[in-house]
Amino acid sequence: MAPKKGSVGNSNSRDVDVEDRFQAVVLTDSFETRFMPLTADKPRCLLPLANVPLIEYTLEFLANAGVNEVYLTCSSHANQIDEYIENSKWNLPWSPFKISTILAPEARSVGDVMRDLDNRGIITGDFILVSGDVITNIDISKMIEFHRKMHAQDKDHIATMCLSEATEYYKTRTFEPAAFILDKSTNRCIYYQDLPLISSQEKGAVQIDPELLESVDEFTIRNDLIDCRIDICTPHVPPIFQDNFDYQSLRTDFVRGVISSDILGKSIYAYITSDYATRVESWQSYDTISQDYIGRWCYPMVLDNNMQYDQTYSYESRHIYKENNVVLAQSCKIGKCTAIGSGTKIGEGTRIENSIIGRNCQISENIVIKDSFIWDNTIIGDNSKIKHSIVASHAKLGNNVTLNDGCIIGFNVIIDDNMEIPKSTKISFKPVKNLGSSTFNLGGDEEASDEEDSVEYSSFVGVNGVGYLYDSDTSDDDEDESNDIHKVSNCLAYQLEELYLSDASISSITKRKKKKRTMSSNSMYTDREDIESEDDDDEDFEAEGLATVERALENNHDIDTALLELNTLRMSMNVTYHEVRTVTVMALVRRVYHFISTQTLGPKDAVHKVFNHWGDLFKRQAFEESEFVDLMNIIMDVVEDTHFDKPDLILFGAFTSLYDNDILEEDIIYKWWDNVSDDPKYDNVKGLIAKWVEWLRTADEESSEEESSEEE
């Protein structure tokens, strides 16, 4: 599939020499689900920020940078992006660059996109790799200069990352905190490591291979850098992704992989700027960046530039922006930091502050809107209160509706009169994927479902309302269900006390690294595991292995196939059976958790179903007694980590299933029990096991000959 030619009638003046042209690749998809449920209908890059689709900011930046050719890689909602670009001003003959969309619906990660890019052979020279949600006013020419200078000095230099310095006052620096270890004199990136989220209580540690520091005189470790995902890459970059087909993410895999690899011998440099540069990567950053933008922190990129042809914003002091044709009632009050789109009508007695209102909204009387984002074509009834929420396009709120801190109302949702939506509720018009099990019908007047839950949830949208609750925690495996850190920080609501960043916590060293973010070909996870040491192989294996087992579980492969796949993986990555077991257990437990959380099965049934069927996997993964003991430890660890309601029940269920299927022998169980760790954190997990072991022992004594045959 050749890239679609975006512009047709280009003038000759812009047909630059192939050698000289400056290319840019925009990754429109982040392969994340953080903007669910809104991204179910619209790709992230077309969500409006300050009434302008996000992608415009990136394209504007590229236009400023003097790029000649832009390639947009689209995977999810590719047709929407394609259509948008086709009708946008960038496709006109006088657009500053040639724009083409590359449709790659099969891509599942940044790595896939890069490999696709390499296959197409589009890249001819240095290019800018930027994600489609960047908002920045950096002066790219300085960065290019830096890039060229470094390239002249170091011929192994393959990429320059743009990092923006955050001040100490900036608490929510980034959603994906990371430590960069840089060579002090040249800004060469020596090492890169993700850090645990600010909100988490975990301690982060950076482990550096001493070999990496051998040739370095002085280095700095910095965690105050906002990674804005603007990279200038040499044409060598896509082939590296091709060679390392397991690279998924740009930073964790690629940057770490390249700089710690002796074989490649390539280096990556960091360009540090104090200009404004961030990504809209979560609801919180959406909120922050919108406010920054309105507060003119990104000047000269400001709303009253009217980047779009049809915009007519003008500025008034106290950061109020109004388009033409805004109808304001005489007694309404427009407070500071507010933008209002054209065609919007605001009724008597309404107060608006710190908010962005889209076009053609009908905002009735005596409404209070504070710190909120109201997108185009919404209707809001009298006496409503909206506080720190997002109301997406075409939503309809009745009279007397109250939206509390952090609500997200999806496209087309209708909320009935007199409703109060609790804090951090996300409501979408349609149930969002993986459904049936995970979302509940909220429309009280559509089919009377007798489930208790639906009654409970209809309290959100009311009798005449249309909308479904979206709950990222229970919905599916895409979002890390076990990781409550994400649950906490990926919502709009204020959590400043939790988000308090203490620099001290990062410097203290602990040997555990808990959080790890990787991509698999299926989906994106975050796992927490206790692994003492990890190198790249480990991590890759984990992601791959997990994906393999999950695939098998989901598609109900037969056990032999699953085992074969796992074994191949094990050989190719050269890991021990311990890792294989860990991965398998994790996948199984996750499956159990999924069943329970979606209420398909009760905890006991779920455990039995999964472990009875798939327990046989362990027969070929553990052979000696010690290995079985190890397996039991792993199961206990994983169960403990997954935060079930009743961990002891799960563990008990798992062990009895394995025992019933002759996978675990009594001797092994006794041996394990005698050596089991006394760590108090396992205490509530072990509750039932103690009794069970006790029971086994007495049963053993009573009928030593019969063993447990009657239980089978």
Partner: protein, 400 residues
């Protein structure tokens, strides 16, 4: 009217030329929006260059269409950056020249018509020639009635007459553009002539607008030509203009002028010793007020007034705008907040308003020094109406 549909036909006739000019217009607009071009001097010159290309590319069947198209272009440029008055000013100047030429042309053709068939055009002819006589006899002191009446009647007549004219308006406009470019490029010479008379020996001058090249040349000229020795105080202009202030001081020092950079807060304390305040302007409005290029100048002028220190504003004629600053907020440019405070979370930070430009009201300026002489602010409107037509003050509405 048939002229409404004409432009599209024109476009079809020569798509290439139109596309090409559209490309350059659009990239110019984009640059204006992104604030990639700044400085009224550069903006004015670039606008003229663009207009020149535009005039060579467009086709029209009647001169009215040409005017409409130029107005359209001017409107687009004004909208792109409402605080870059240079674009509008020069386009309005060109329009005024064009309209004068049309008037001239019409008079000639009517005179010719009158001699050949006096009965048909009698009334018209008398009317316009009477008006024409008035304007020739008293070109400056026309009555209010004539000011409002004359252009409208004339244009009305002309717009209705569909007769072909002999004058090559393309040539007229291009010549006007060339003249204006020359004028803008040589503006400093005109201003510098006056400099020598204004600056005395051993005087202390204060300038709060260090980025103005006109001020710089003005001072250097006074030093070199007249060989005056004087001291210049330069305000620091924190935060937007500090770099400029330093460069400015350095350049002056290189020319052997004693230069002192003072903090903005010290202006009041030092004002009693200052002999003259010299400011550069970005735009001069019709009421004699002006937009100056750094925040704080307004308070410096206020301060000067308190001490009865004369304030001299230097401005090229092209900076004169026929607009009236009814709403100053719309004309002042607001910059970013990032240089004033460190970046903080939006929820617990101060909101900052960072004016990049400032408005100085006419009562705080004593004299404007332009390339055609010095004028009191109250006289500025007369100069404006010498150069602009009332009808072209606002380019966005339909004409007539």
């Amino acid at each position: 009217m048939s002229s409404q549909s004409m432009p599209s036909l024109v476009h079809n006739n020569n798509p290439n030329a139109v596309t090409e000019i559209e490309v350059s217009i659009d990239s110019f607009i984009a640059k204006l929006k992104r604030r990639q071009i700044s400085g009224s001097y550069i903006i004015a010159l670039e606008t003229l260059q663009l207009l020149k290309r535009f005039i060579s590319a467009v086709r029209w069947s009647h001169v009215n269409e040409l005017i409409a198209q130029i107005r359209e272009l001017g409107n687009r440029l004004e909208k792109a950056n409402p605080t870059a008055f240079g674009c509008g000013n020069v386009i309005k100047r060109i329009l005024a020249v064009l309209r004068d030429e049309i008037e001239e042309d019409m008079k000639e053709s009517q005179n010719a018509g009158a001699s050949s068939s006096p009965s048909a055009n009698n009334l018209n002819d008398r009317n316009s020639s009477a008006v024409g006589d008035v304007s020739q006899a008293e070109p400056l002191i026309a009555s209010m009635f004539n000011l409002l009446q004359k252009p409208e009647q004339n244009s009305q007549d002309f717009y209705e007459s569909k007769s072909k004219t002999k004058t090559d308006f393309r040539q007229v406009v291009i010549q006007a553009i060339k003249d204006l470019i020359d004028e803008i490029k040589n503006i400093d010479d005109g201003i510098q002539q006056i400099a020598i008379d204004l600056i005395h020996d051993h005087e202390i001058l204060l300038t709060p607008t260090p980025e103005s090249k006109t001020v710089l040349k003005f001072l250097i000229r006074a030093r070199e030509r007249a060989n005056r020795t004087f001291t210049v105080l330069v305000t620091e202009g924190f935060p937007n203009n500090t770099q400029n202030a330093h460069d400015f001081a350095k350049k002056l020092a290189q020319h052997d002028i004693e230069t002192i950079i003072i903090p903005d807060s010290a202006v009041f304390a030092l004002m009693s010793r200052v002999g003259k305040v010299i400011i550069g302007t970005k735009t001069v409005f019709i009421n004699g007020g002006s937009i100056v290029s750094s925040a704080g100048v307004s308070s410096v002028c206020e301060c000067a007034r308190e001490f009865k220190t004369p304030v001299f504003a230097v401005a090229g004629l092209y900076k004169l705008s026929p607009l009236y600053p009814f709403n100053v907020e719309k004309f002042v440019e607001f910059g970013g907040s990032q240089h004033i405070l460190p970046r903080m979370d939006p929820r617990n930070r101060l909101d900052t308003i960072n004016k990049i430009t400032d408005y100085v009201p006419p009562e705080n300026i004593d004299i404007y020094i332009t390339n055609i002489g010095g004028f009191a602010p109250s006289f500025i409107y007369r100069i404006a109406w010498d150069n602009y037509k009332q009808i072209d003050v606002h380019l966005d509405g339909k004409q007539k």
